[in-house]
Symmetry: C2
């Protein structure tokens, strides 16, 4: 009665890794600003939830395997709205983006096969590659280059006879980086040349700032047969718990396989389909407001991070994540310490240590991810706690000798 | 860019295999009685859906990995109500029963390992064992024995060094069979002796008739460390589309692994948690009515089936499925023919050919499953169509020479 080998290979997400510490801090009476989970605070407009007021009980039945027709129609309209070439019969409703990742990875690899994945990456991918028995081969990207891709030759040296797919997130999580059109086309070209699947997680498509434009993998017709797009509507519309996403393929053979996988789990969540279809109807107004708000937060975060001595921040162009290199040796220990031993005026901040976003040992040890999912005023407090925390931590750890009294705020350090 | 080997190994569910034929029949103007999908028609009481009227937008956020505390509390109450020994920290909310199956199978096996599975079985299991790369070893059960288990010695001959788990559904789908206490204990004992996981799918726990009692695998403390129970609340409460189930383990090491798997997909559907928690609150009244209704349908189906010359029905004690051996050589062709070429008074019936419920080649070819998920009046029409269809089909196929005019009803056969 030994658990499978894969059970051990599956890596727990680092994103919720300090949940117990955060809960303990809350139990001690602290306010904990949670910047560790990419859960948008911008609530879905109340009128979206009105869709639930008169749920037709028949919509609590199983939907068709790919989703209710009204949902498929809404998703189709969504892609039309973005001028993306997606037909109705190319759309699969999924249980969040997560299920799309599971299906795509299961389609692409057998145990022992390899998947190329730019690092730092969305760490939850490892749960699905672990289930599939795939080996993740990281394409290392660097904070100094704002996590853009290395040259094509460098990526191609990573390809072996076992390489079956390139998986990437664009706009990036945890990086917030938006690949240029040339970068996306390079990935398409590499996939074509080496006969690989190209799995593009585009859940943050609309989260672009400063006029940056997102390039969808679907824009390159030459790659259509091998391109699989993962999408999430629950994330996009701040309806995370509704767990509703989509999986797109223009290759009928791929769709046959997804149909076989999908039919076994019967249907995506019906209620999620209802609220997502309603949300898609009010697309433009929604994102204009969202983009303004997130840009403001990002700019605030940038200002604060740039004032932390020794820190390096990669000001992101998209999504709602920030990667930050801190002047500490062990960002996990720092994040734990913030929750366990530090607070300012009854509050502390929960970060995600970045080690889990890297496959290469030794990388990311001094980096953290923050999700800027709090209103500006709270975000400022949360990030000030990080800034002051760095100073205090370095003193507490004797990494530097500074007098903690220089800070004007009341700092309480638990002994 | 070849799809993985596992993509080919994954078997599509036979339950929706004739969907296109049914859709075509509907397009031709026919009423199609769908007895092929185990989707209860008994609608969730309207007041359960009232839970959705004032959804707190914060419940559209991700829930904790295992579910919202209010949902875990409700599930805990549910097991208390059934006198089953389940503690709050042993409960995982899942996306329907399906996700529980995925997690349990992924925990139990590595590629090439074997899982014992009584056949006929819920065919969708094959999608998950296929993803896991597991080999299904059938424990054959027979309609003549009402699909009860063979003796222990016979089961033990199937066990090899690669056998890692026994997976079973009780009450059974597609059989409706309820194992005796002695049968469940035998499975527990076999699992203990051979050090196997015991995965019990108990989604139909309350669907028991004629005073039959369901025995949960959880009732045997000696097997607790290896027992994993799969449950579904959406199915139980006719809320199939809400996709909400539970996974139970009393083994902390197992729970650690499920936590790792579950955290990667973030959370079970929030709205499903809301309606399921509400539904659990009105347990008793609900099932008293349900049991009466299903028993009536089962008795009706039994009467009709017993009047089909040459047919053999396994009158089920539980769930809402009926297995039926028909006097035809190929029940798939018969089921297809019913949809494509047969109708009575503008209506026909959709069945599930049973071949897909068997792993052993050649078994189930003359059997079908029906789910008695229609009100009595419609069920009677639907089953009369099957009965008359058998007669007409055998004539059309020249399996027997009878005069189709003997039937008094207007039968239309498409040429």
């Amino acid at each position: 009665m030994k658990a499978s080998k894969r059970s051990n290979d599956i890596v727990a997400s680092p994103i919720r890794g300090l949940t117990k510490n955060a809960d303990a801090a809350i139990a001690r009476g602290l306010t904990v600003y949670k910047l560790n989970i990419g859960q948008p605070d911008l609530q879905a407009p109340k009128e979206k939830l009105d869709a639930l007021k008169d749920v037709d009980p028949k919509h609590l039945a199983y939907s068709p395997t790919r989703g209710f027709p009204f949902f498929i129609d809404a998703v189709y309209d969504y892609y039309r709205h973005h001028d993306l070439p997606v037909e109705k019969n190319e759309i699969f409703g999924t249980t969040g983006g997560s299920e799309g990742i599971l299906f795509a990875v299961m389609l692409a690899v057998d145990p022992g096969d390899e998947i190329l994945l730019p690092e730092p990456f969305y760490s939850n991918y490892l749960g699905f590659t672990g289930m599939a028995g795939a080996k993740v081969i990281p394409i290392t990207t660097k904070i100094e280059e704002k996590y853009h891709l290395p040259p094509r030759e460098k990526i191609e040296t990573l390809i072996t006879s076992r390489t079956k797919a390139i998986l990437f997130t664009d706009p990036g999580n945890p990086t917030g980086t938006i690949y240029t059109e040339a970068e996306v086309e390079m990935l398409v070209d590499i996939a074509i040349k080496h006969d690989l699947w190209l799995i593009a997680d585009e859940a943050y498509r609309e989260f672009c700032y400063d006029g940056h434009r997102h390039t969808s993998a679907l824009e390159f017709e030459k790659g259509w047969d091998r391109t699989i797009v993962i999408d999430s509507f629950s994330k996009r519309f701040s309806l995370c718990g509704a767990r509703i996403g989509a999986l797109i393929s223009k290759n009928p053979k791929v769709r046959d396989i997804f149909d076989k996988m999908a039919v076994n789990r019967l249907s995506p969540p019906s209620l999620g389909q209802i609220v997502a279809a309603r949300a898609i109807g009010s697309l433009d107004d929604y994102f204009a407001g969202i983009q303004r708000e997130y840009k403001q937060r990002r700019d605030l975060a940038t200002r604060i991070f740039e004032s932390i001595p020794g820190a390096l921040a990669s000001k992101p162009d998209g999504a709602f994540f920030f990667m930050l290199r801190l002047p500490v040796a062990d960002s996990y220990d720092f994040s734990r310490w913030l929750l366990d031993e530090f607070s300012i005026e009854g509050a502390t901040t929960s970060l995600t240590p970045a080690k889990g976003f890297y496959e290469t040992p030794g990388l990311g040890l001094d980096e953290v991810r923050i999700a800027y999912v709090l209103p500006v005023r709270e975000l400022e407090l949360a990030l000030t706690i990080v800034k002051e925390g760095v100073r205090e931590y370095k003193w507490a750890k004797r990494e530097v000798q500074i007098d903690p009294c220089v800070t004007q705020r009341r700092i309480r350090t638990r002994k």
